[in-house]
């Protein structure tokens, strides 16, 4: 970008009306923040749903306490609660929406869309995304999709209630009593999903194009920060994995609205309607295949942005290069490819047959190799570093063991035989929550603390940061570790009363789970307490976000962490168009503590002095990549 266009741009920036600058903005940073705030709000809402569910699990016969139920109107309570207690139907509704909100409306938009949008163009030296208007459309499609899904809570049918996986035939049949199917929560879920998929398709096309086309001169592939690699792979995953789910969503929508039987087998019977008035001959298994073809890559869509944040924060705070940058890059690429061929390990219990199960078991074990390379490289990166325990680093450091637990507890689930016992138990819930909550969310928290100074010009408060971190760490473990125990004891994930109906008091009972359920049911109260504690200790974070914006310690340089990647070369906060100079890249992304350099960091954009010998191990700046 020329200096002229930058000037022009800054002038332009001043005349933009409020709604164009902050609401319908095409600036990737504003859109990133919009995504972040919206995703944060959705996360809190999803978290709230979960606390109500956990109340029901721990205290199934007790009305929801006032501090949880004040949000509901009397009419809503009359319809959906039973004398103030959560009913099975309401629990299912909250469960389905908790999963949906956390995955589709919370973590993915926060990790990929918010961080990706804000940081990626800055790290590659681009003035914005390749298609700024598409970027804006992507955000608004996301918000519309999310709101449509959530508004269905207020409909007569209530929100979707067939699990976040929305399996047919249950999901195809639910809410049939609603005459206008477009006004049924289960249908609204699908409409919302189609909008979300549209949003993520627009977003992923934009990300991948931006990374391929708008890299600054000299920024060759192996000089890309790991964060950018992660976004590139995530972009491809979203691009290619989501459309089959869109196909499934459209087919399920047809089943609901036109009465077709894509996923409805022959001979379905319900108490209310008798033999259903459908043609049948559909395949519920087809839905599961299409769902998990997205569903598994989606796990990596959740995970990679968090790993990406941690991989940026660790070198910066250990003041040494990321150990094994190239193997990490190849691992993440391999991970991307492999994630497309593991989906059916979610379906061992469907009876697809031993041959198929064995195939997916093998690929699932294979995918653990690149995952382990990534985690191990980051752990080794700590070795011998002079670690600065800044707030981002503390979160990043906690990510490593927490994600480790999440990953390792997944191994037994990869095996068909072990999965037969563990499938749909709390063990699975414990496993993936370890990956997503203390894993991914910690990584993303690290990212917030790390890039907050770039976004606002102020640091977040350390005391509030610690008050956020330590209780969160403790509560997360108190919340999720007992799930692993309960799961092995046979607790099913969909017991709205926490397994109370399964308790076997005598020793001679025929219920094989009865005894183990009785032994472990008291953990429900521990977990519910931890969940409430976890909620309380998010308050310091929310306060910190607001308070630091106005009164936080001001940064004294544009590069307050003494980091090496290009986002720190921008003004703080960066203006529209990002850079005040034409960025060029001279070296790899993590040149910390180089003995031949006077400072302990050597930014990518800093021109080498003539006396310094050829740059190793980076490649030479690529003259070809200059603007045409």
């Amino acid at each position: 970008m020329s200096a002229d266009s930058q000037d022009h741009h800054e002038d332009h920036d001043h005349v933009l009306p409020f709604w164009k600058k902050y609401i319908f903005s095409t600036d990737h940073k504003t859109i990133g923040i919009q995504y972040g705030l919206s995703a944060g709000a959705f996360l809190l809402f999803g978290f709230f749903l979960m606390i109500v569910m956990r109340w029901s699990i721990a205290y199934p016969h007790e009305p929801i306490p006032g501090y949880l139920s004040w949000i509901f109107t009397d009419g809503w309570k009359a319809r959906w609660l039973d004398d103030g207690m959560v009913t099975g139907e309401t629990y299912n509704m909250f469960g389905a929406m908790h999963g949906t909100i956390m995955v589709f409306l919370g973590v993915v938009p926060l990790g990929f869309a918010a961080f990706g949008n804000y940081v990626t163009p800055l790290q590659i030296g681009a003035p914005d995304m390749a298609f700024p208007k598409l970027n804006m459309a992507s955000y608004w499609a996301y918000l519309a999709g999310g709101l449509i899904m959530c508004m269905s809570f207020f409909m007569e049918s209530g929100a979707a209630k067939s699990g976040w996986t929305n399996y047919s035939p249950l999901a195809g049949y639910a809410d049939r009593q609603i005459v206008n199917q477009f006004l049924a929560g289960q249908t609204q879920w699908l409409i919302g999903l189609v909008l979300l998929i549209t949003s993520s398709l627009l977003g992923s096309v934009n990300f991948v194009t931006t990374i391929i086309q708008l890299r600054a001169k000299g920024l060759t592939w192996m000089r890309l920060p790991f964060f950018v690699w992660a976004m590139l792979v995530t972009g491809f995953l979203l691009l290619l994995a989501f459309p089959p789910l869109e196909a499934a969503g459209i087919m399920q929508l047809m089943d609901r609205v036109t009465g077709s039987s894509f996923f409805m087998p022959s001979g379905l019977f319900s108490k209310e309607d008798g033999v259903l008035d459908i043609s049948g001959s559909g395949s519920p298994l087809l839905f599961q295949h299409l769902f998990w073809f997205l569903g598994h890559p989606e796990v990596y869509v959740l995970l990679l942005p968090a790993i990406a944040c941690v991989a940026e924060i660790i070198p910066c705070n250990t003041r040494k290069p990321l150990w094994g940058y190239k193997p990490m890059v190849w691992s993440i690429v391999a991970l991307g490819f492999l994630s497309f061929v593991v989906w059916a390990h979610h379906m061992y219990l469907t009876g697809m047959g031993p041959v198929i199960s064995t195939f997916f078991q093998t690929t699932t074990i294979l995918i653990s190799v690149p995952s382990v390379i990534l985690l191990t490289s980051m752990i080794i990166s700590l070795w011998g570093g002079s670690i600065r325990f800044t707030m981002p680093m503390i979160w990043a450091a906690a990510f490593l063991p927490m994600f480790g637990i999440g990953g390792l507890t997944g191994l037994p689930l990869a095996f068909n035989l072990a999965d037969l016992h563990l499938h749909d138990t709390y063990y699975v819930i414990g496993h993936f929550h370890y990956v997503v909550a203390p894993g991914i969310l910690f990584g993303l928290f690290a990212g917030v603390y790390h890039w907050y100074p770039k976004m606002t010009g102020r640091f977040m408060d350390n005391f509030l940061g610690h008050l956020h971190f330590w209780p969160s760490l403790i509560c997360m473990n108190l919340l999720f570790f007992p799930m692993l125990t309960q799961g092995m004891a046979g607790f099913h994930r969909r017991w709205y009363n926490g397994g109370e109906g399964y308790i076997e008091k005598g020793t001679e009972g025929i219920n094989v789970f009865g005894q183990t359920v009785a032994e472990n049911i008291s953990l429900n109260e521990v977990m519910t307490g931890a969940a409430i504690g976890l909620a309380i200790f998010q308050l310091p974070f929310l306060i910190n976000m607001v308070v630091s914006y106005f009164w936080g310690k001001k940064i004294t340089s544009d590069n307050p962490w003494d980091a090496t990647t290009l986002e720190w070369a921008t003004p703080t906060p960066p203006g529209h168009g990002n850079f005040t100079f034409d960025p060029a890249i001279y070296r790899g992304p993590y040149e910390y503590s180089r003995p031949d350099h006077d400072k302990d960091f050597f930014p990518q954009w800093e021109e080498p002095k003539r006396s310094i010998p050829a740059e190793e191990p980076s490649e030479k700046p690529d003259k070809e990549t200059t603007e045409a």
């Binding site: 970008m1 266009s5 930058q6 332009h12 016969h61 007790e62 009305p63 009397d74 009419g75 309570k77 009359a78 319809r79 004398d83 103030g84 207690m85 003035p127 914005d128 390749a130 298609f131 700024p132 598409l134 009593q177 005459v179 206008n180 006004l183 992923s204 096309v205 194009t209 391929i212 086309q213 708008l214 691009l239 290619l240 459309p243 089959p244 869109e246 499934a248 459209i250 087919m251 047809m254 036109t258 009465g259 077709s260 894509f262 209310e272 008035d277 459908i278 043609s279 001959s281 559909g282 395949s283 087809l286 295949h289 308790i503 008091k505 529209h576 990549t625 200059t626 603007e627 045409a628």
Partner: protein, 574 residues
């Protein structure tokens, strides 16, 4: 701010931005349609009914294939014209492209419309296997005359008021009961009121009363007194049914329910506080609700809160005077008996379900499913077919045209079998068990005489719809040909639908995949149309940029064409 590489290519990638973008988008489109195509495979391979083969009219699909291929060529010409800076040529080629898109959609519309009007009915009735045969055709129209369903013969009257397709269910309604916890009656109430007009009175059977909250809490009155109070009256007996009235009662019901639940919740919470005090937190377990101490406490609670309950009635009943014959779509009535039906929203209509046959002109009879089932159960297919209602019923004229048509089919099949035997071949299931529309026309032309059919088949004089027969362009043409008439009593109607996604998974995937493809055609045409009608300004300022855009739009257009090239053989020919 300028985004680089919008117009000119980046040197190391050799591409401008939107070209990268469109290829990525197309990659995602491949997986989208890939998901749908794999859906097609799954459904076809695991279908538990005979998958319809060559069930669609080929000509419109074939024309559409060439139309799209042609448009893919003209869109390239349009792009090339832009590259050569020949605006006029660009306009011409782009206009042709858009006309092709429009023609494609028109043909698609004709095809869809034919399906929307083509009824299919699975027959119920006697027979040793589950499948009892399928009848296809066009539903005729009917009206209510002298309290009975009567066919309307005059086609000009089909769209008159009071005339409806003869596939509805008729209920002589004398009483309607609405469930108040379901505030979604609007659709049915509107329909009922519309059908009632001014000649029928639908009135509330008895007062709808809910005790007044304040009066209840003041105390001193028993329930009878509370209900007798003027404040309790929500709606008078005799009030006429309206959406507003129902809403008013629904609101009162829901308010009363909230009130009651609120009180019960408070009592329950207080009891939990009490038991915590009583037993201490450590001694509480989830079994506490099964213990006598808790049960006793709850009994006492119930005694206390019982008198505080408003207990509003959850259902309201309306009388219909005189009884009104309601004409309803079968899909709205999941369950019915002779005396009452229940709508999807749980509204109950009491009265009498009147004879509600489906009256139609039959253009195809299909026993393939019957044969498939019979073979699976080790029964000779023809034995199962012979006892089907289709071949054994007697119509109002004392005959059975379908039986006659089937006999003609048997005569043709005899000829066909003999012919094929000479070539060492056997007839297909389609040959054996399905009478297609053109066969039906041929038999009608020969007065349903089997001997004449056998003879004509030998002389190759049977009417046969060829690829380019415009009379059957979109399938059976009921305006052009006569087809046998049938009245299927409701008890012999199994699953029924028009040839829409509901009918079977073949039509479901056909409509979904071609519908989505059609949306792509429309979307692509809108974008290309935008360049044609609003591109001049950009052409004048930066023609290369416009050329890039057209190139990208053209790539998308080629993809749309490519999808159709897969769809045509899969859906129309295989």
């Amino acid at each position: 701010m300028e985004i680089p590489f919008i117009v000119n290519a980046r040197k190391d990638t050799g591409l401008f931005n939107s070209k990268v973008g469109i290829w990525l988008f197309l990659a995602s489109e491949v997986t989208l349609f890939g998901g749908l195509f794999s859906g097609y495979l799954f459904l076809r391979l695991y279908a538990d009914y005979p998958w319809p083969e060559r069930a669609l009219p080929v000509l419109p699909g074939l024309i559409n294939t060439f139309v799209l291929i042609g448009s893919s060529v003209t869109v390239v010409f349009a792009w090339a014209a832009l590259k050569m800076r020949e605006w006029r040529k660009f306009q011409i080629y782009m206009a042709i492209t858009l006309l092709c898109a429009a023609l494609f959609m028109v043909l698609k519309g004709i095809e869809y419309n034919a399906k929307f009007h083509h009824q299919a009915v699975q027959i119920e009735g006697p027979g040793p296997v589950q499948g009892k045969g399928i009848i296809e055709g066009h539903v005729h129209y009917a009206e209510i005359k002298d309290g009975k369903l009567t066919e309307v013969k005059d086609k000009d009257r089909y769209h008159d008021e009071g005339v409806f397709p003869a596939n509805r269910i008729l209920i002589k309604a004398s009483e309607l009961t609405f469930v108040l916890k379901r505030p979604t009656h609007e659709a049915y109430v509107k329909e009922i009121l519309k059908q009632a007009g001014d000649d029928y009175k639908i009135t509330l059977a008895k007062d709808y009363r809910v005790p007044d909250e304040d009066e209840l809490h003041e105390g001193g009155k028993n329930r009878v007194q509370l209900l007798a109070s003027g404040k309790a009256l929500v709606a008078d007996a005799g009030s006429e049914l309206s959406i507003d009235l129902l809403e008013e009662m629904e609101d009162s019901f829901l308010e009363a329910r909230s009130h009651d639940k609120d009180i019960r919740t408070d009592f329950l919470a207080a009891s939990w506080d009490w038991i915590r005090d009583e037993k201490g937190d450590d001694d509480l377990s989830t079994y506490v609700v099964e213990k006598d101490i808790w049960k006793e406490r709850r009994k006492e609670d119930a005694k206390k809160f019982g008198p505080l309950m408003l207990s509003a009635p959850g259902e309201v009943t309306f009388k219909v005077d005189p009884p009104l014959i309601l004409v309803m779509k079968p899909g709205d009535i999941p369950q019915f008996s002779k005396e009452q039906v229940k709508f999807r929203d749980d509204t109950v209509v009491k009265g009498e379900v009147l004879p509600s046959p489906i009256i139609m002109g039959v253009d195809a009879i299909d026993f393939r499913h019957t044969a498939m089932r019979a073979e699976a159960e080790g029964i000779e297919p023809m034995k199962a077919i012979e006892v089907s209602w289709i071949l054994t019923h007697t119509d109002s004229h004392g005959g059975n045209d379908l039986k006659k048509a089937w006999n003609c089919h048997m005569a043709w099949l005899k000829y066909q079998t003999e012919r094929l035997e000479k070539e060492g071949r056997v007839p297909s299931d389609n040959d054996k068990y399905r009478v297609n529309w053109d066969e039906m026309v041929a038999y009608q032309k020969l007065d349903l005489d089997p001997e004449a059919v056998y003879k004509a088949a030998g002389e190759d004089a049977l009417y046969h719809s060829s690829l380019f027969d415009l009379k059957g362009f979109a399938g059976a043409n009921h305006n052009e040909f006569d087809f046998p008439h049938v009245e299927i009593p409701r008890e012999n109607v199994g699953f029924e639908s028009t040839l829409t996604p509901k009918w079977n998974t073949y039509y479901a995937i056909y409509f979904t995949i071609t519908g989505l493809h059609g949306l792509h055609v429309i979307g692509g045409a809108l974008v290309l149309g935008y360049y044609l009608f609003f591109g001049r300004k950009m052409y004048d300022s930066n023609p290369e940029w416009l050329a890039n855009r057209v190139e990208v739009g053209g790539l998308f257009w080629h993809f749309v064409d490519l999808v159709w090239i897969f769809l045509f053989p899969i859906l129309y020919l295989m």
